[in-house]
Amino acid sequence: MSLAVRLRGISKRFGAVRALESVDLDVEAGTLHALVGENGAGKTTLMRVLYGAIQPDAGSIEVEGRARRFRSSREAIEAGIGMVSQHYSILPQLTCLQNLMLGAEPGAWIAEGAAVARAEELAARMGFRFDWHADASTLSPAGAQKLEILKLLWRSARILILDEPTAMLSPADSDALFESLAQLRSEGATVILVTHRLPEVMDHAERVTVLRGGRRVASMPVADTDARGLAELIVGHTLERASAEPPGSLGEELLAVQGLVVAGYRGDDAVRGADLAVRAGEIVGIAGVDGSGQRELFQAVLGVARAKAGVVRLFGEDASKWPPSRRLEAGLRLIPEDRHEEGVIDEWPLLENAALGLQRVPPLRRGGGLDPGVQRDVAERAARAFDTKHGGLRLPMASLSGGNQQRFVAGRALQLGPRLLLAFQPARGLDIEATRRVYDAIRTLCREGGAAALVVSFDLDELLEHCDRLVAMRSGRIFEPPPERAKDRAEIGRLMVGAA
């Protein structure tokens, strides 16, 4: 078999951090090669080296048998390499056609007819359909992913790098993606798949390479391993099974949402008559593709978005008219989606950030101010909860890495007697180990503290592993599976996309 990609001894440092240490990678032509590892293991860095976006400190790159040295992505693209990054590079203010061409336009003047004809031809090959003159902002996550693949074909890429391509896709869309990739491989393309979803690796990849801490720890045919073995290679030690035993008896209803309607920021309704109840002791997961109304549902429960219709009951009382401060005081807590925008103030020290959102909750509130002793105590416990690595509570939040900020924000949500926890992608930016610890803490809180949790994630497997029951959200409505199928992957997947 000929090698499409041969990397030898790739090393890269960022300041004091060794991101890659003498990493080798062999990818056979025409195969799907999976690259797995925890956050920070160096997967994306290695791929950006291959894509020419990062120059390595040492090592050699061979593409299709020829030694290469890429000084920019442009040169890698010319060598036949294409990369779809995790957060897509679709520009919403451009049309689909403009996005397709950007960076590889046919000439200084764009002959629209010819460009559309070629776009149509590529789309037909993959069985895709696009309205080429529509703004790319109208694309669904699955549509954006398809357009990204067409962009690679437009550039005649033979080696396709996909970084977490299914992170925002429903199971059905993910399956369709892998079908497209299989077709491309049958036409001679090579695919490198960066992922943290091990079932994908087991189902679709021929070979897998595992990175840990910037080093390659294993590379083998997928047939020689299983998901559990891979997970242990990734983490570096044996994993305990998550203790997801079903809850005993459930307590009182802590949250009840009835007929909730919330306007989205574009003016149309994002939540369209949602009903949901969460009882003490349980962890309820909301599955759904991004943009199904999860964000607005949380905002309405928290009280920062006004409900146009419907009722939000918290802890047995009608809370529809409560301001957010009163809801927080009553025991509502949030692990926000975007910690930078909604969770922390970067310039403030950890100590001050620890009090954010809890400032009205006794005993932290004392008279008209904050109790400094309690504040320090809250900060220390928030930092200790998930081993946030920090250089002191008086240092600004910005001095922490993203993963450590997430640990701190998750730890803070568990302080001062939470009764209902809203968690939006609580494991965002966390590795397998930390993810498990955060969910374990949430479970302990619910089982022993009589609290409940409502979790949103775009990763269905994560929810299946850690939640007690799942509901699906689609187009602003919540769909509950029958109780005996509350953790049935196929059933939830069907509800997410609305298939019968």
Binding site: L91, Q93, E105
Partner: protein
């Protein structure tokens, strides 16, 4: 009277359109540009001074464009290379233009000199101003440069991933902004006959208002400029008239275009959409 109003509107709207299109190219590329005013003013002074000194239309126009382009390149250098906030940079360049034009005018104008400044016919500027929004609306969609300009202003990071170099794209965008603001200044001074201190009188900011009002879309921005040009023309026509018997001081009429700007912005600006990558490097 109606004819006067129409001619006045076309003449007064043209420099606004030229400057606003300059702002359009700058901001679509992702650089906030509040220094349209300064660039126009610099072009007014340079066109007038070089025109009187050389007697050549070509040299005078070239000087006007060069002075505005020099300021535009400074804006590019400050914001893209030295990462100065674009509003701060724009303020500084405006201040520089106010001071420098005043100084050069006082230092180099010969008060005893009698004669005409050489000038292009106003119609040339007007034709260009009215064609430009359509050309830009078309060009931004149908040319490689246009698509890359939009991409740079919409999300420079993603554009970079696609092999576009936003900082280079913006250099050319600023060059066009300088060119257009230079033409706008040259037209103002052509209309007036010679340079007068602070003769742009806030037109650069009105052009900026038109850009916002038109939602960063060339044809709509052009229409907004026409509206503001009409307000200016109306102000000139109404000078000295009384309103229902009450005597209106001329200063009150003069404020009409600015009032129109405030009302228009307060009323409509909320709905417009800025380039998403404005100010991002």
């Amino acid at each position: 009277m109606l004819w006067v109003l129409l001619v006045g509107t076309v003449t007064l709207a043209s420099p606004l359109i030229l400057a606003a299109m300059g702002g359009y190219v700058s901001e679509r590329g992702g650089i906030v540009n509040i220094a349209l005013e300064g660039k126009m003013l610099a072009a007014c002074a340079a066109t007038s001074l070089v025109g009187f000194a050389t007697g050549s239309v070509l040299w005078s126009l070239a000087a006007g464009i060069a002075s505005a382009t020099a300021l535009a390149w400074s804006h590019w250098l400050l914001t893209q290379k030295f990462r100065v906030d674009a509003v701060v940079s724009g303020m500084a360049l405006n201040a520089l233009a106010f001071g420098a034009t005043n100084f050069f005018d006082k230092r180099f104008t010969d008060p005893t000199h009698i004669g005409e400044m050489p000038r292009l016919p106003l119609g040339a500027y007007q034709a260009l101003a009215f064609a430009l929004p359509l050309l830009l609306a078309y060009g931004v969609r149908r040319t490689r440069a246009g698509v890359r300009l939009m991409a740079s202003g919409s999300d420079p990071d993603k554009a970079r991933q696609m092999g576009v170099e936003p900082v280079a794209v913006r250099f050319w965008a600023q060059t066009v902004t300088g060119l257009l603001c230079g033409l706008a200044g040259a037209m103002i001074v052509t209309n007036a006959g010679r340079f007068v201190d602070n003769m742009t009188a806030g037109r650069g900011f009105i052009a900026l208002a038109a850009l916002i009002l038109g939602g960063w879309r060339p044809v709509q921005v052009g229409l907004a400029c026409l509206f503001f040009g009409f307000a200016e023309a109306l102000q000139l026509v109404l000078q000295g008239t009384d309103l229902m018997g009450a005597k209106i001081p001329s200063e009150a009429w003069s404020s009409l275009p600015y009032l129109a700007t405030i009302v228009a912005l307060a009323g409509f600006a909320g709905k417009s959409r800025a380039p998403a990558g404005l100010g991002k490097v």
